[in-house]
């Protein structure tokens, strides 16, 4: 029995700590891989401190966590004092009520708070941002403080508050002199608990944050569309080490306290005590130094970077029109979709601000649907957004975008003709293409000797490679592949056609090892699978790290996707937003963007500046004929069709 429980305990500990251990190890990995350790480097730590967005969100997170947990500690402690003096029945009821936010699903808390804030936003000019986030965090922090403080009242010697008054203290002084020291441990742990809960809250923050106050968890989540960068491992490692140190010090201090009180029974040796005091002081100082150093690095941000040459723009005068108006625009983009000074890139937002005097508030999302929901909720107002093709057509249909004044975007002339007047925005009135790409097949040359020309979509149905095939884990992309094989339009709304595509996908299921999205990077990198569909730009990045990987765009045709700059209704600074769009269309800026993301650029000026080798690369820049004849862009499907496809997809994934 004893052995069994020991085994059980070690298993539990193993499960708890192995992930953290793995994370720490891979934070020193030389490549981005999460499965193969290829060498030791501190690179990710260096890059972390150059990543403006991560640092800024970390700063936001810390500010919000500190404010919210301090406020919650005060409120919660006061509440606990009140509750502890209530009658038994009232106490039980009130405790039930205070506990509701804990048992309540976070999503309900988040949504209801958002609705409340939207209600006040309309009436009282309440902006979504720090204030709403802090209020929301206080809401879910307070119960934890109450829960931590209440038991201290219960454990407290009865009557000590009265005893202090009996000895001549007034009520308030009595509280601080004798009650406070007793409940202090509860207050402290309540504070620590709410601080950590605030630090890593995602759901509630997601619904209550605005354009100006993105927190770290949201930023990290928005990065998952591509691949979570090892910088996050580095950041998590740092946070883990700090938390660990704080905990160890807390425990050591507590242990010391109890052992000292035991010692007090004997004659206390002054020397021993003073040595301990010194150790404690050293430990505390060490932590403080670490924190201060960390904070300094954080505030200095991208210090001592070799600043790349300044970006050249065509018509500098154009950009100074709004310089003295003190404008700030809110930009909402995909995660890792704009260079911000990481890896010695240019920080385009900073460049823009230097050039125009317009400040940029930058926040990020992970899916089109997330962007749509955020705009629909009306919680935050954005000036520039970057949705994908089908989402743009939906937003146009639902009257969510503002028509652009092309006079203000002279650089639109650089957009290649083939990307003008696309189907999703037939008159090019609402969108300026930002990046584009195609879907193809990643293969591992160690696991197949097929010629590249022979690889087409049907390889994903090849029995020979059963269990070595990966597939997209989202309905639209997966259906598209089946539809390409069946020769259907990728935008068909015909239910019989969709049913046929679904049948084909069902047939494929027995060969599929896993339905995945960004794990494709790791699985392919580690040689776990032979074939997987993925986006061209990401595949190129993958191939840089792994020589044995290749990428083909099937000759039979594929899906072409475009992400484009738009201005949503409700934008407060349309002219500045257009200036920002124009800036991103400067050939040099567009080149930086294409370099950073790895996707293809629709900007002819930037294209001209590419190496000839890249210009002729069939993966990134297939020829016009292929693009025109064999590629189809997603359009928005009707709700009915979307639902039908979703149902079929569920059927495919859950059916036997």
């Amino acid at each position: 029995m004893k052995k069994l429980s020991k085994l059980y305990l070690s298993l539990v500990l193993l499960f708890l700590y192995i992930p953290i251990f793995v994370m720490i190890v891979f934070s020193f990995n030389t490549t981005k891989s999460r499965s193969v350790m290829s060498g030791f480097t501190l690179d990710w730590y260096v890059r972390l401190f150059h990543n403006e967005l991560i640092l800024k969100s970390l700063g936001n997170t810390i500010i919000i966590a500190v404010c919210a947990s301090v406020a919650a500690t005060v409120i919660g402690t006061l509440a606990a004092i009140g509750i502890s003096r209530m009658g038994k029945r009232t106490k039980a009821t009130v405790m039930q009520v205070t506990n509701i936010p804990i048992v309540n699903p976070e999503i309900v808390t988040g949504v209801s708070l958002m609705l409340l804030f939207v209600f006040f936003q309309a009436r009282m000019n309440l902006e979504f941002g720090y204030i709403t986030l802090i209020i929301a965090h206080i809401t879910f922090d307070v119960p934890y403080v109450v829960l931590n403080v209440m038991p201290k009242f219960r454990q407290m010697q009865p009557n000590i508050y009265e005893a202090a008054q009996d000895l001549g203290c007034g009520p308030v002084r009595s509280f601080f002199k004798v009650v406070m020291p007793e409940i202090m441990p509860g207050v402290l742990s309540g504070f620590l608990m709410s601080f950590t809960f605030s630090l890593d809250d995602f759901v509630v923050s997601y619904f209550t944050s605005g354009a100006t106050s993105q927190t770290l968890p949201i930023t990290i989540y928005s990065m998952t569309r591509r691949k979570v960068s090892p910088e996050i491992n580095a950041l998590s490692t740092i946070i883990f080490v700090i938390v660990l140190t704080v905990l160890i010090i807390k425990n050591v201090a507590e242990k010391r306290k109890t052992s000292r009180s035991r010692l007090a029974a004997l004659e206390e040796s002054g020397r021993r005590a003073s040595r301990r005091r010194i150790i404690k002081r050293v430990a505390v100082t060490a932590v403080v130094v670490c924190l201060v150093a960390g904070m300094t690095i954080l505030t200095l941000g991208g210090f001592e970077t070799e600043v790349p040459e300044e970006l050249a723009v065509e018509d500098p005068d154009y950009y100074t029109r709004l310089a003295d108006k003190d404008i700030t625009i809110n930009v909402y983009n995909w995660g890792e979709y704009l260079p911000l000074g990481e890896d010695d890139t240019l920080n385009l937002n900073e460049e823009f601000t230097n050039l125009t005097g317009i400040k940029v508030n930058y926040s990020t999302y992970a899916t089109n649907e997330e962007l749509y929901a955020k705009l629909r909720a009306g919680a935050a107002s954005y000036d520039v957004i970057i949705p994908s093709d089908y989402m743009i057509s939906r937003m146009i249909k639902e009257d969510m975008l503002l028509p652009l004044d092309m006079e203000n975007i002279p650089n639109y002339k650089y957009i290649m003709d083939k990307f003008k007047t696309p189907e999703y925005d037939p008159d090019s009135r609402y969108s300026v293409p930002y990046t584009w790409g195609t879907v193809g097949i990643v293969y591992n040359s160690d696991l197949t000797d097929m010629d590249e020309e022979d690889i087409d979509w049907d390889v994903l149905w090849n029995e020979e490679y059963a269990d070595e095939i990966l597939m997209f884990d989202n309905p639209r992309d997966s259906f598209a592949i089946a539809q390409l094989i069946l020769g259907q339009s990728l935008n068909t709304e015909d239910k019989r056609e969709l049913r046929a595509a679904a049948d084909l996908l069902k047939e494929q299921k027995k060969y599929v090892q896993a339905y995945v999205m960004d794990e494709i990077f790791d699985k392919m990198g580690a040689g776990e699978a032979a074939f997987a569909p993925y986006y061209a730009g990401d595949a190129v990045v993958m191939m840089e790290d792994h020589e044995n990987l290749g990428f083909v765009i099937p000759e039979s045709g594929t899906n072409l996707f475009v992400d484009a700059l738009c201005i949503p209704k409700g934008a407060k600074n349309k002219e500045a937003a257009e200036m920002y769009m124009n800036f991103l269309c400067e050939p040099e800026a567009a080149l930086e963007i294409a370099d950073f993301i790895g996707y293809s650029t629709p900007n002819s000026g930037a294209f001209e500046m590419l190496d000839e080798e890249v210009q002729n690369d069939e993966i990134s820049y297939p020829d016009d004929e292929f693009l025109n004849d064999k590629c189809e862009i997603f359009k928005n499907l009707s709700d009915d069709t979307n639902q039908y496809m979703q149902n079929l997809w569920t059927e495919i994934k859950t059916g036997g």
Binding site: Q157, N159, Q165, D166, L167, P171, S174, S261
Partner: protein, 346 residues
């Protein structure tokens, strides 16, 4: 002598329940008064009213002739030793005792001297730096007393201060407390539900039941002339029987008539008849009015405690000689061993 504390028609209710029922009590200066009564009878509540932690719903609390109903606890010249000591766990022995002096902002020197004196008085010299949690119950007890006494209150309230101690320590502390009270000349208002403790220590005993004061008097008076059967029973276990006072000096119970010494109850009145266990002697059954079977015999040190069952009553008898279990015995007592008491109202 003057009254230092008086309660006039003091009433308290909690949630509609009467806890103190318009009690009246006068306490003289430098007296050792004990509130005695079963658990839940309102002893602590009475102390809390005097200490100022509870305001009576009606009635007056007087201190040296002045009404102090609205005076908060920290302004009353009264200190309390709480039922569970209520020492401050985060302070050591010295600081606990010095607490009240520090509040008064006395000089460090004076605090040192006075705390030192107190520690000597309660026999804890050398314990200054000790942590409260590492003290024994008796030591904590004495710290609590020192913490209250160091402020030199006119009245010290003690709420079952010896409740947690073992018998031997208890006896010692009883003597110590009594000595302290006499040498310091302070009024002690002492709460206990131990009748022996009340009788040995007090100048005056106040017997309480269900929020009422049943009897106030010197220990000897209360013991010898309990006002009713409850007091008699509470002060020392007694045999209490239903009886009828036929006329003066003649009472009927257990189906027999007995001569007694009481009069003035009228004729054919229902009364309680109280006979103390130590006043009964066992006799051969033959020529006794009451006979019974011995059910149990327990050795109690000085005497044996026996239970004898008769047809309608179970008798408690103390005797230095033991009877045989299951044997038949006669129960014998004289006329002056019979105490007649009015039935309690209700």
């Amino acid at each position: 002598m003057e009254n230092i504390v008086s309660l006039n028609d003091v009433a308290v209710t909690f949630d509609g329940e009467t806890i103190l029922n318009k009690i009246n009590l006068d306490i003289r200066d430098k007296e050792f008064v004990t509130l005695l009564g079963p658990s839940g009878c309102g002893k602590t509540t009475t102390l809390r009213i005097i200490g100022g932690f509870l305001k009576p719903d009606s009635g007056d609390v007087m201190f040296e002739g002045k009404r102090i109903n609205d005076l908060p606890p920290y302004k009353r010249n009264v200190n309390t030793v709480f039922q569970k000591y209520a020492l401050f766990p985060h302070l050591n022995v010295f600081e606990n005792i010095a607490f009240g002096l520090r509040v008064k902002k006395l000089s460090e020197d004076e605090i040192k001297t006075r705390v030192g004196e107190m520690l000597k008085l309660v026999n804890l010299s050398g314990f200054e730096k000790r942590n409260i949690q590492n003290l024994s119950g008796g030591q904590q007890q004495r710290v609590a007393i020192a913490r209250a006494l160091v402020n030199r209150p006119k009245v010290l309230l003690l709420d079952e201060p010896l409740g947690a101690l073992d018998l031997k320590l208890r006896k010692e502390m009883q003597t110590e407390l009594k000595n302290m009270q006499q040498s310091l000349e302070i009024t002690f208002i002492y709460v206990t539900h131990d009748q022996e403790e009340a009788l040995t220590m007090s100048d005056t005993v106040v017997v309480m039941k269900d929020g009422n004061i049943l009897q106030v008097g010197a220990p000897v008076d209360i013991y010898n002339e309990p006002k009713n059967a409850f007091v008699a029973d509470f002060i020392g276990e007694s045999n209490i029987l239903d009886g009828i006072m036929l006329r003066d000096r003649l009472v009927q119970f257990c189906g027999h008539e007995f001569e007694c010494v009481d009069s003035g109850f009228g004729e054919n009145t229902f009364v309680d008849v109280v006979i103390r266990p130590e006043d009964i002697t066992l006799a051969p059954p033959e020529n006794q009015k009451i006979k019974g079977i011995v059910r149990s015999v327990t050795f109690k040190g000085v005497h044996y405690e026996m239970v004898v069952d008769t047809a309608d009553f179970s008798w408690l008898i103390h005797s230095t000689r033991a009877a045989q279990v299951d044997s038949e015995v006669g129960i014998s007592f004289g006329p002056d061993d019979i105490h007649i008491m009015h039935k309690m109202e209700g």
